[in-house]
Symmetry: C2
Subunit: 463 residues, 2 copies
Amino acid sequence: MKLIQIDRMSEKPIRRQIYAQIRDQIVSGEMCGGEPLPSTRQLAAELGAARSTVVEAYDMLLAEGYLLSRQGAQTVVSENLVTGAAIVPIRRDQTDQKQKILADFSTGRPDLFGFPRSQWAKLLSGAVIELPPEQYGYTGPQGYAPLREEIASWLMRGRGLNVSAEDIFITAGATHALRILMDLLCPHGERVILEDPCHSGLYGALLSCGCEIVPAEADDHGLKTDLLTGAEHAKMIYVTPSHQFPLGGILPASRRAALIRYARENDVYIVEDDYDSEFRYTGAPVAPLLSLDAQRVIYVGTFSKTAFPAMRLGFVILPSALQTRWRELRTHHDVQNPPFEQAALCEFLKSRRFDRHIRAMRNRYGKRRQALMEALTNNFGTDWSPCGDAAGLHVTIRFPGRRFGDAFRTRCAEHGIQVVPLEDHSIIKGKHEDELVMGYGHLETEAIESGVRLLAEMIAYEE
Amino acid sequence: MKLIQIDRMSEKPIRRQIYAQIRDQIVSGEMCGGEPLPSTRQLAAELGAARSTVVEAYDMLLAEGYLLSRQGAQTVVSENLVTGAAIVPIRRDQTDQKQKILADFSTGRPDLFGFPRSQWAKLLSGAVIELPPEQYGYTGPQGYAPLREEIASWLMRGRGLNVSAEDIFITAGATHALRILMDLLCPHGERVILEDPCHSGLYGALLSCGCEIVPAEADDHGLKTDLLTGAEHAKMIYVTPSHQFPLGGILPASRRAALIRYARENDVYIVEDDYDSEFRYTGAPVAPLLSLDAQRVIYVGTFSKTAFPAMRLGFVILPSALQTRWRELRTHHDVQNPPFEQAALCEFLKSRRFDRHIRAMRNRYGKRRQALMEALTNNFGTDWSPCGDAAGLHVTIRFPGRRFGDAFRTRCAEHGIQVVPLEDHSIIKGKHEDELVMGYGHLETEAIESGVRLLAEMIAYEE
C-alpha cells in the first residue's frame, strides 16, 4: 500500500479520504488481490488519526467488498477488482461568453416587473402553511383539483368556454403538454401537420420526438385550410388559431369549420395552442376551436405568458378517449406537478387578482405595441406594415423590398441587436424574407424607441 | 334565426351567450350562408339587453368570420361554415371508488409527518421574497446554480463524492431524469439492460418509451455481473447498486469493477439510481459507482424520499459528452423547474437542516424496520427471513415454502391489505414466488404491528 495522504482542511471526512485512497489503489491495480492491509491500529498510528476512523474506513471497504476479512486472519484485498484503467475524473464544460445586448426584440417574454410578486409571495406562503401533509406525498397525475375548478371557471369568464374540471389536466407548461401529447398520439414517429411558419422551438421539439412533420402554409389569416393535404398517416394538426405564431392572424370561422371537418374526415386530432389569446387590443378574446368539438380538439393553455414563465404551470383539456393513456404517460414522464404553485395560482384565480393582472397587462402591452408602431413610423416612414391582428406580446413587421438574410443576422449580432427574421420560423424557406418578428411585451417604451432607432441606423448604414 | 335564450343567473356574460347561440346555429346549419341577421337595435329590444351588448356579440362573430358586414348593407351569415355535425359536448370520465385500506405496506412512501413542514414554509416564503424578478423568467435548463453548489457540497459531506456543480443538472425527480435519459441514449428504441427484479413502475416507464428491455438477473447482492450479455445494441444499463430494488443488496466491489469493465468494453452508459442510499441502518452510506468513472456513469439522485415526493426535485450528474444534448432535450421536454422550491431546498441544504432531517429520519425508519422484524417474528415465528442489507424504506421478506400468487392478491384486495408480491417486480416470472416487498417508512409502529397481524391472520385462514 502506498502512503495515504490526509488533508485536514478538506470538507471530506477523514474516514472518506482513507476509504477513497485505498479503493483507488485497489481498482487501479496498485494494490493486488490477496495483498494484506496494515492493521487498523498500525495505520491509525501512521496517519495520526483515531483508530475508530480507520475502522470506519475499513468497514466501508468491507461492506462494498473491496476487502476480505476472516476471523483471526489479516484483512486482505479482494480478487478481480481492477477496472483496467485509472479512475476517470469529471471534466468541465466550457462556459460561453455572452455578447452585450443593446436592443432586445426577442419573443415570448412577458414583463416580469409587471407581475405582482409580493402578492404572489403571500399566496405561496399561505399555500405552504395551509396545505395538509397529504399534499406533500404523491397526489396523482391530474393536478390539484381546486386549481382545475378555478381554471374551468376562468375559461368560462374569459372565453365563454364550458369545460369541466374533470377534463382539465395540469402540466408544467405548454411545451411539457406537447411533449406528452407526442408520446400519446405519435409514439411511432407518425405525421404531424404544422403551420408554416411556426415557432422554431416548437419545430425543434417535434423533430426531436422523431415524428414526420408536414408543413401547412399559413398566411395573415392563419392556416390555409384549403391547402391541407398529407393526412394519410397524420395523427395531429398543431394550430394557433387565436393568434397565429408568428404571423399574428386570427383563424376565420370558415377556416375553423373546414379544419374541424378535415380532422373528423381524416381521424386526426387538432392541438389548439391558445397562447397569448388573453392579450387582444381590439375586440373580445376569440372563442377557442375547442368549443366546436371537444372530442376532436385538444386545448393547450399556459400561465407562462399571463403570469410568469418560471411558474411552469399550464394545462390541457383532453377528449375523454385520451384521458386514461395521458394519466399513464404523465406518470411515466415526471409523475406530477409540485403542489405549492398550484395552490397559490388557485387562490390567485379565485380572488380574481389574476383577472385584474390580465387587464393591467393588456393595457400596458397595448401601449407598448403602440409605442413600437410609432417608433417604426418615426424611423422607417411608410416602408413597413404590421401583419396579423393586434394581439399578444410580439408583432411581425413586413418591410417590402428588404431582405433579412445571413448578412443581416451577422450585423445584428455584431451590433448587439436581438431580432429574429421571420425566415427563422419558416419550414419551407424563401417566402418571408422581408419580415421581422419583434417582441415588445418585456420592453419599456424608451427601450422600444432606442431599439428601433438602433435597428434603423444599422440598416441605413448597411445600404 | 331561432330565438336566443338568455340566462341572467349564468356566470357566462350575456354577450357570450348571444355569441355562442348564434354561432351554434351557424355551424349546425340552422342558419345558412347569406341569411341576414336582425339589426343590433332590433335584437337588443327582443332580448331586453343593452344594444352595446349585442354589438359586442356581433363584433366577435365578425372578427372570427362567422358574419359578413358591408358598408350600408345588412349583416349576413358567411358561407361554408357547417362542420357537418352538431357541436360535440365534453363527456365525463367515471371516477372509481376506492376500497378501504387496513394494512398498507406499499413502497416508496416516506413519512410525510416527519418532514419539518413549518421550516419548509418559512424557507419557501423567504425564497419567494428574496428571488429577484429575473428568476421569474426563463433561466435555462440546468437549474438554479446555488442549489447545484449545495447539492455538490452535500454529496461531498454525505458520500465523499467529488462533483462539480457544473456537472449537476436539476430535474423534476428521478422518473423525469430517466425519461430524458431515454430520449438521450435510446431515441430509436435501443436496448436497455435492466436488473431483474426491478421496480415495476420503472419497467412500465421504459416499455412506454418503446425500447427493448434485456433483463439481467439480480440476487441478494445485486446485479449478477458475470451473467451480463446482450450488449450488442445496448446503450444503457440501469442499476441500483446502493440498495437493489426490491431485493435490497449492496453491489459488492468485485461486481462494481466488473460492471465498469463491461460498460467500457461495450460502450454502454451505466445509469446509477442512488435512491434510498441515505437510509442505511448499519455502517456508512456506500460510495456511488460514479466515483469509479464519471464519464461512463450517469448518477440519478432525488429528494422525493429524503424530503417529500411532491417537491418534484432531483438531479443527474452527467458525463461532459452528454451535457449539450441534455440541455436541448430538457428544453424540449418541459423547459426548466420552477425556482421557488429550488431556492428553498438550497437554503435547507446550506443551513444543514437537511442533514439533521436525514439523521432524524434514519433513526425513525430504523426503529420502524426493527418493529417490522419483531412483528414478523411474533406472527410468523422463524418461517421468514429478510433479504438484502438493512437500508431504505422497505424490505423484501422471504417466506420459504409459501407461494404468493393470484389467489393471494385477490384475498389481499378483499381484506384491504396492500402488500406487493415480489413477482410483480419480476421481468422473468417464477423465481421469487415466496417473497413479499413490504414498505414500512410511512407507517407508525402500531400500524406495522396491526398490519402484520392482519396479514398473518389472512394467511392462516387461507391454509
